[in-house]
């Protein structure tokens, strides 16, 4: 007698690339925010800020505006990765993925980073590297 045994397995769905890219930007943005908040715990940082200095930088209107722009782009990419059409989406993610990998690499290469920042920076580089990589390998379909 044939007994057909019903097996079940956990439901699994393939997550669309756009959603993965959006989620990667969310993750990397959380790391940027946390790394910035952690900085406040380092001795001397608050005194420096009160004296108008962020590390080696003088805090000016221009400095804050440029930082604001650099930190708004990843937030906007959370949305644009979902809404842009494939071609523009792919290029935006390749270009910005590489650009942000470069920016963080630059902050690490400036030297003098504390261990916590080397950790955050490394994970950030991996995530933005993944963004560029995933976008580069964007799946093709017949037109």
């Amino acid at each position: 007698m044939n007994t057909t045994k019903k097996t079940t397995e956990l439901e699994d769905v393939k997550i669309n690339l756009k959603i993965k890219l959006s989620a990667l930007w969310v993750a990397v943005m959380f790391l940027y925010v946390y790394a910035d908040i952690k900085a406040f715990f380092r001795p001397g940082i608050i005194e420096g800020l009160m004296a108008g200095k962020a590390g080696d930088f003088q805090i000016t209107q221009g400095f804050l505006l440029v930082s604001a722009i650099i930190m708004t782009i990843p937030s906007v990419m959370v949305f644009l990765s979902l809404s842009l059409k494939a071609k523009a989406n792919r290029w935006a993610n390749i270009i910005l993925g590489i650009a942000y990998t470069g920016i963080i690499l630059g902050t690490l290469l400036m030297g003098g980073a504390w261990a916590y920042y080397i950790f955050y920076g490394t994970v950030e580089i991996v995530l933005t590297g993944l963004i560029a990589w995933y976008a580069w390998k964007w799946p093709k379909q017949e037109a």
């Binding site: 669309n16 959006s22 969310v26 908040i37 505006l65 930082s67 604001a68 906007v76 949305f79 809404s83």
Partner: protein, 131 residues
Amino acid sequence: MVDVRIILSALWAARMLSSLQGDVMRLMQPGMLDEMITGTTEVPITNAMLLIMSLIMAVPIFMSFLSLTLKDKANRWANLIVGIFFVVWELVFLIFFYIQAPAYEIFWGIAYLVFAALVVWYAWKWPKQEA
């Protein structure tokens, strides 16, 4: 086309991430920490003020989850209502506070406004299907 619910959820997450980063950056603004220590901030920091701000800022966090889980009709209305609330909220802040504030505050303020406006737009244009 990505499901509208996922876009709405991502918009709330993006809104929250940018305001979190904006709030951190505000601490770097020269004079801000001194004002906080001496209690001379433009808007006095009280228990009630912090509670109200916490409650209001918890809303986008929940919306990021609710946009994925609420049933379509309730989902759309929740996003329309909360979205419009935040459009008004951001406009009030832009007009009454950020306008005299440094450029970076105006920049962030516009970003929050755009995210809230996009929520309303996407919820309004929620795709229809035959019943």
